[in-house]
Symmetry: C2
Subunit: 488 residues, 2 copies
């Protein structure tokens, strides 16, 4: 393309201009996708809809998602995206997989559910067949059934529980003035949820429900990041990690049996980056072992928790080199670059993730500012897991048009769309995040080819073995063709 | 660098990692600048200061400038930047060159100054030796002297005038909820200022004062965008554009005589993009003529006004091809890509600016999202004029860490820093914008080399002929060396 740089005489040739514009469009995500006549028809329709939304007084991607959500729900583009087969969700955390409504309205109404309010205004739950012992953070456990009867206003009480289990609020800017504040609440919610979903019978239903919500949104595959926290029975018996993986396997199998158009689900074992090196070392060893036992389920390993306040990947290098040292493979799916602090040690995580041969990059918010890491990631086909709503709610960016992934999309960088913590942000499935990526980050130039590529990418860059990718693609293609013929 | 992409065995070599990190640093703006021992000392000091500011509870670049300004003024980095020789200011508009305080406290106190309040709550000024005639937008002109005497509270009144002549406010988010609102006020301010600064005796002092403010901030050169609006005398006589250019030439000469360390000033003739093609055609012709008459003063031509609501460059292609058609040269300095509407016709301005051989790109906010245009701009050495505070106040981006120029800086894209409309934003000189670019956009990895390159760039990418660039660089270098020895 060097000829493009040649100095013109100042009177641009319209044909050459047209060519340059087309070449630039060609480079974007999905720019090389050839659209059928029917797809072109739908594409033109989508463009018209998008022009309208971009010209409206309120542009949802420029607003905080909690305020934009009702507008998005009314958007005809969003409704189309809900119908669209979106492939797989590759970046979702197990503690926030299922809508909070279900947890509160269904799970907390079950017998033997105890609640406790902590000194720092948080809640804990516990299922138990006897009065639970006081714990350091919880002195007084009450049976929820009894408490609800005492309070009377069940609807109001349930609403207050929902507030404890999600970040959603009518005043996000007031309630979360800084990243520190929103992350604090974020970690609190995880702890509050734990008592509910680590109860063995609940977990089983919870996972099933999670797959069902994705399926309802036309998502056919899941890679779930999970710490495999100990699960407990009513009598206090606890189950180990193998039990959870087996349960996950069974639930997935059962769901697939009832929904033959669902491809499957796998787990990325995750540990918190607050741990010390020896603990992470042990976790890596355990993950290697569990992957050997459950090769169909365990996709690999990740470190989670806020990067800005946690330890960086290089700090854990001894632990992360373990598989190579032992001569075994353990695919990594590192969170990296979920930060806006440029040039700090945390900002370095992206390069280190690549040096440790990460299979994908979780978020990679900072990748666009790292030209070398960006090149490496592209050449090695390491996809970025873009979670727009998460980045906005966790205050990396307010107007999503300024999300640095706009740069990556314009260059066709390997990328998939995911939801990170749907229940915390008040989303289900992937349609909300697809909306933000397609309308906000992609802008008017993102088209149906972009959507098609992003969907296919979620199978292409999944951890599935080649033959399952092929089967998954064929399954997706049938759905896609049906979607196109229904909407063009 | 292909070897970098080779898959490692999963145990990164620390030496190789170090090399990659250095290579990435090398690519950034100023990454290739070799620092002397004294410079390295100052650089280490700067890094320490920056780490402190990034760790503080309030981080100025993440805040609206109107709120961040008092914090910035206290910053030791800012104080250093004020002392630093910053080269030239290449993107400043003539209507907003000089602090509003001077206009109100000095100019409006002169005799024969009339004021009029319009129906839409704006003001007009006029110097006249008799009672001015009513105009369509102004029915009742009052002598300011009389009005002030009547009102009594001069301080309060002057403050209200200042409000009319700047965008500064304590509540920017409340007062300017959208780009439309802030741009409306923006255009209003320009009209309000016009009556003051197009009065011939005022203009002369105004230009001198403008150079003095830049000089005080250690800026030694100016390229001023000006529409060369008609200037008037007390008796109503008007002067043509040649008169203004001559006046500008005289004022610059006088200022240089009193300040031998000032390099000079030139004008980029600008017309509003609201005009029709024939009017722009006429303006281009006139600019060609004026450049012939004042080759030392006239640097070239630009189209100004809000891109999102104005006409795009391609619309004016017939007018912009005129110089080439006539076989003459008229350098262009186009505003382009001052938008966050990706993929629209406006977004196309960047590519078109390049096709019309623009010498620099004003703002280029959207450039990072245009991989092809970015390549062309880089290969042709077309620098971007980055005006961070302007982009924030005009609501393209709230947290400056998300400014897309972070991508350009990480790649060492040709770039200069400027202030756009200092008086409207409440800044003088370039130090505020340098602060935002250095601390916010550049992050921790931007260093003294970055600052040095940005300063030199303003001479390198100026419109000056080669011999003056050399002289300018030598002058800058002496100042730089003095700055370093004073601060290391
Ligand atoms: Zn995550
Ligand atoms: Zn401008």
């Amino acid at each position: 393309l060097l000829w493009l740089a040649s100095v013109t005489d100042g009177v641009p040739d319209p044909a050459k201009r047209e060519l340059l514009m087309r070449e630039e469009t060609f480079r974007q995500t999905g720019g090389g996708v050839a659209l059928t006549a029917a797809e072109q028809k739908l594409d033109a329709h989508l463009r018209g809809l998008k022009e309208k939304e971009m010209a409206a007084a309120q542009f949802p991607p420029a607003m905080h998602f909690f305020k934009a959500k009702p507008l998005i729900q009314k958007s005809p583009i969003f409704k189309l995206l809900q119908q669209m087969p979106k492939g797989g969700a590759l970046h979702v955390h197990s503690s926030s997989l299922v809508s909070v409504e279900w947890l509160v309205k269904n799970v907390t109404y079950r017998p033997h559910c105890y609640i406790c309010f902590t000194w720092d205004n948080s809640v804990r739950f516990l299922f138990s067949d006897r009065q639970p012992f006081p714990r350091w953070d919880c002195f007084y456990w009450q049976l929820l059934e009894t408490l609800r009867a005492k309070i009377g206003d069940a609807a109001g009480f349930d609403n207050s529980l929902i507030q404890h289990l999600t970040l959603v609020t009518v005043d996000p800017d007031g309630e979360y003035p800084s990243q520190d504040v929103v992350w604090e609440k974020f970690e609190k919610v995880f702890i509050a949820t734990a008592g509910l979903i680590t109860h063995a019978p609940v977990l089983r239903e919870y996972l099933y429900k999670g797959l069902a919500e994705l399926h309802l949104d036309n998502v056919m595959y899941l890679e779930l990041r999970s710490g495999l926290s100990r699960t407990y029975e009513l009598d206090g018996t606890v189950h180990d990690k193998a039990w959870i993986l087996k349960t996950f396997q069974e639930v997935t199998k059962k769901f697939k049996a009832g929904h033959p158009d669902f491809l499957g689900a796998r787990i990325i074992i995750s540990v918190h980056r607050a741990l010390e090196v020896p603990a992470v070392k042990a976790a890596v060893k355990e993950a290697i072992q569990l992957q050997k036992e459950f090769p169909d389920v365990v996709a690999g390993f990740d470190l989670v928790g806020r990067e800005d306040s946690g330890r960086n990947l290089w700090y854990f290098r001894e632990a992360l080199s373990l598989p190579a040292d032992l001569g075994v493979t353990l695919p990594y799916f590192f969170h990296a670059g979920e930060t806006d602090s440029e040039g700090t040690d945390v900002d370095q995580n992206i390069l280190d993730a690549l040096l440790f041969n990460t299979t994908r990059i979780g978020h990679g918010y900072a990748l666009a500012h790292h030209p070398l890491a960006k090149e490496m990631s592209r050449k090695r086909n390491v996809a970025v897991e873009l979670c727009p709503i998460s980045n906005q709610v966790l205050k990396l960016v307010s107007d999503l048009r300024n999300h640095p992934a706009a740069v990556l999309m314009s260059e066709g960088h390997p990328m998939v769309i995911s939801s990170d913590d749907p229940s915390l942000f008040g989303t289900t499935g992937l349609s909300y995040d697809f909306y933000e990526a397609f309308v906000g980050i992609g802008g008017l130039k993102a088209n149906l080819g972009t959507l098609k590529e992003l969907s296919v990418n979620s199978i292409r860059y999944s951890s599935l073995p080649a033959h399952l990718k092929e089967a998954g693609y064929a399954m997706w293609k049938r759905k896609w063709d049906a979607f196109i013929s229904a909407h063009s």
